[in-house]
Symmetry: C2
Subunit: 361 residues, 2 copies
C-alpha cells in the first residue's frame, strides 16, 4: 500500500509515483547490466542511449524544431541569469526585461552586471497582481534580446499569451510552467527551465536554444557556461548530472504515456480551474491575481484571518496534504499543481479547505 | 542474490551497495514522511537536516578545521577551472600551475583566459611518467595561488606528498583522490572535488575553502560562481542538487561505519599494492609510472600485445569485471579502485588477469 502524501511543494516538487517506482526497481541494476545508472560512464553506449532518448522524447513532447539545440546543464535558472547575458548580450549592449515579480527581478539584477537592462514593462505599479499587456511595453529598438518570466512561481502570475518581439530573440524562464501544456517553441530564441518542478530532480537545468544564437559568448565567459561548447559536445563537455538526466528521461516517457502535453494541459486546466473557483466562491480564502493572469502551476492564497494559518497548515499536514505554506518572502499559502500532482490531490485539498472553512469560517 | 558487477569505471564510478540499498528503500518515502528526499523543499527542516549532517560527517572524516567552509556546488571540476581564477586571481595577476597531465592542462588552459599562468613545473619532459619534485618547481614570487592536481585520473599519477607553498594558498583538484586516505586539510587554501568518484553521483562538486579566501571574486564573476555567496547562503543561494547532496551524505555515513579514512586508507593501500605487484611481476601487463608517483585510485596498464586488448576486455566483461578500457585519449586499460571497489573486486580482477596471461602470455 502506498504511504505517499499529497505534495504541493513549489520545488523541488512532487514526481510521478510510477517514475519513482521504476527508478527504485532499477536503482542497483539498470536493465540487467549489474550497475546503477549513476555508476556508469556518461560516455558508455548505455548512458548515451539514455541521454539521447531523453532528448528525443522532450523534442517529441514539445515538438521542438530541428534548428534548436536541447542542452542538459547544471546550476539552475539562477546560473542562467548570468549565462544568458554572457552568451547573448554584447559588451556595451542593451537587453529588454519584463518585471513581473521576484524571479524576473533576480534575472534583471544579474543581467545588470553585464550590460544595460531596459525594464520595458513592470507589474510593480499594480502590486504584481496583473501582467502588463504587450501594448504597455516600451521595447528598445536595439535590444539584444527580450527576457520575460512566463510563470512567476512565488507571485502566482502566468502569461496566457506569448509576446511578439519580431526579430529580437525572446528569452523565457519557463522553470515552473514548461511541459504543463503545449508550447510553440518556434516563437522563442531561448527557453530555460530548472528541472525541479515539471522535469525531474534539482541539479539539472534544460536549455532550448535556437542554433543561430550559439557562438556569441563573450571572451570572458567560462567555457562551461558557453552554450556553443555545450551544444558541440552534446551537453557532455564534462561529466553531466547523469542521474538527473536519466530521471528526466523517465518523466518524459511518463508524459508521453499520459498522452503528451495536450492531455496534460487538459488535466492541468481542470485542476487549477477547480481550485480557483473554490477560492473565489469562498469567504475565507482569496487570491489577488487578475483572472487572466493567474498561474496554472502555482496558486497562492491567503486566509481572511492570518491567525488561522497555523491551524490550517497543521490540519493539512494531518491529512497528508504537505508543503502548502507560502514562500518565506510573502507568507500565506501556496498550492503548486505541477504535472505530478494528481487531480485527486487537488480534490483532497479542496475537500479539506471546505471542511476547514466550515469549522473556522 | 546480488547481480551486481565489479565496476572499475573511472567515473561516474561504483557506489557502495549498502548505500544504494538504503537509497532504494527510502526512495518513495523518506523516513515515513510520505515523500522522496528529492520531492522536498531544500529549505525544509527535513532537508536542511540531511544537508547539515552530510557536511558535519564530511568535516569529521577529513577533520576539516573550523576556519574552512564546505560548499556543495554544481558544474563539476571543469567549472571550478574558471571559478578558481574568477575568485582568487586578481585582474592582471599571476597564478602558478603544476602540469602533471590532462586534467592539469585543462585547468591551466581555462585559467589562462583570466590572467597570467606560470607553469611552475611540468611532467612533460618525462612523458608524464613522473611527478616533478618540489625542488624542480619554479614558483612565482607574487602568485595569487599555486594549483596542482594531486591525482591524475587519466595518466594514473598521484602525489604521495603535499607541496609546501608557504603563505601562497595551495589549490588542489582532489576529484579522484579525496576520501581515499586521511588528509591534512590545513595545508590547503582550497580543495575541490567532483563527486562522481569517491563522494556520490555526478552533478555535485564539493569545495573546501579557507575563510580568508572568500570575498575576493571579480566584479564580472557570476553570482552563482562567487564562493562567498555560496558560503553565506549555506550552498543554498538557489536550489542545490538535493538528491546528490543526500547521496553524498549516505556515502559519508558509510565511510564512518567502515572506520573512517584511516581504515579506508589501509584497504586502499592493500588494493593498489596487490595490483601493482601483480602487474610488475607479469610479462604481459605493464604500468609505466615511476613507483613513488603511482596512483592508488586509477591504475592504467597496457598489454604487451595490443592485439589482445579486445579479447581481454571481452573476457573481463564475461566475468562481470566492467569498465576496464582506458580513457579514449590514451587507450590501453585502466582499473579505478575507488572506495566502493572492494578488495574482493581487486582479487577477482587479478585472478582473471593471471588466467588471461596463462592462456595468452
Amino acid at each position: 500500500m502506498s504511504t505517499r502524501a499529497y505534495n504541493f511543494c513549489a520545488g523541488p516538487a512532487a514526481l510521478p509515483e510510477a517514475v519513482l517506482r521504476r527508478a527504485q526497481a532499477e536503482l542497483l541494476d539498470w536493465r540487467g547490466i549489474g550497475l546503477s545508472v549513476m555508476e556508469m560512464s556518461h560516455r558508455s553506449d548505455e548512458f548515451v542511449g539514455v541521454a539521447s532518448k531523453a532528448e528525443q522524447d522532450l523534442r517529441d513532447l514539445l515538438a521542438i524544431p530541428a534548428n534548436y539545440k536541447v542542452l542538459f546543464l547544471q546550476g539552475g535558472a539562477s546560473q542562467q541569469f548570468a549565462q544568458i547575458p554572457l552568451n547573448l548580450l554584447p559588451e556595451g549592449g542593451t537587453a529588454d526585461y519584463i518585471d513581473t515579480g521576484i524571479w524576473s527581478k533576480k534575472a534583471i539584477e544579474e543581467a545588470r552586471r553585464y550590460g544595460t537592462v531596459n525594464v520595458a514593462a513592470s507589474a510593480k505599479s499594480c502590486d504584481y497582481f496583473r501582467i502588463p499587456r504587450q501594448e504597455e511595453w516600451t521595447l528598445s529598438p536595439d535590444a539584444a534580446y527580450v527576457h520575460y518570466t512566463p510563470n512567476e512561481t512565488i507571485g502566482g502570475l502566468e502569461y496566457d499569451w506569448i509576446p511578439d518581439t519580431g526579430d529580437v530573440p525572446l528569452v523565457a524562464d519557463m522553470s515552473s510552467t514548461i511541459l504543463s501544456r503545449p508550447l510553440d517553441v518556434s516563437r522563442f530564441g531561448l527557453i530555460y527551465a530548472g528541472a525541479q518542478k515539471n522535469i525531474g530532480p534539482s541539479g539539472l537545468v534544460v536549455v532550448i536554444v535556437r542554433e543561430d544564437l550559439l557562438g556569441r559568448a563573450r571572451s570572458s565567459c567560462p567555457t562551461m557556461l558557453d552554450y556553443k561548447v555545450a551544444a558541440d559536445n552534446g551537453s557532455m563537455y564534462n561529466t553531466p548530472p547523469t542521474l538527473g538526466w536519466y530521471l528526466a528521461g523517465l518523466i518524459f516517457e511518463w508524459l508521453k504515456e499520459q498522452g503528451g502535453l495536450e492531455a496534460m494541459g487538459q488535466v492541468n486546466r481542470r485542476k487549477q480551474q477547480k481550485l480557483y473557483e473554490f477560492i473565489d466562491a469562498s469567504s475565507l480564502y482569496s487570491n489577488p491575481i487578475a483572472t487572466a493572469d493567474r498561474s496554472w502551476m502555482n496558486i497562492p492564497f491567503v486566509l481572511a484571518d492570518a491567525g488561522l494559518d497555523k491551524a490550517f497548515l497543521a490540519g493539512a499536514s494531518a491529512r497528508q496534504l504537505l508543503n502548502l505554506q507560502g514562500h518565506r518572502s510573502v507568507g500565506g499559502m501556496r498550492a503548486s499543481l505541477y504535472n505530478a500532482v494528481s487531480e485527486a490531490a487537488v480534490d483532497a485539498l479542496i475537500a479539506y479547505m471546505a471542511e476547514f472553512e466550515k469549522e473556522n469560517g
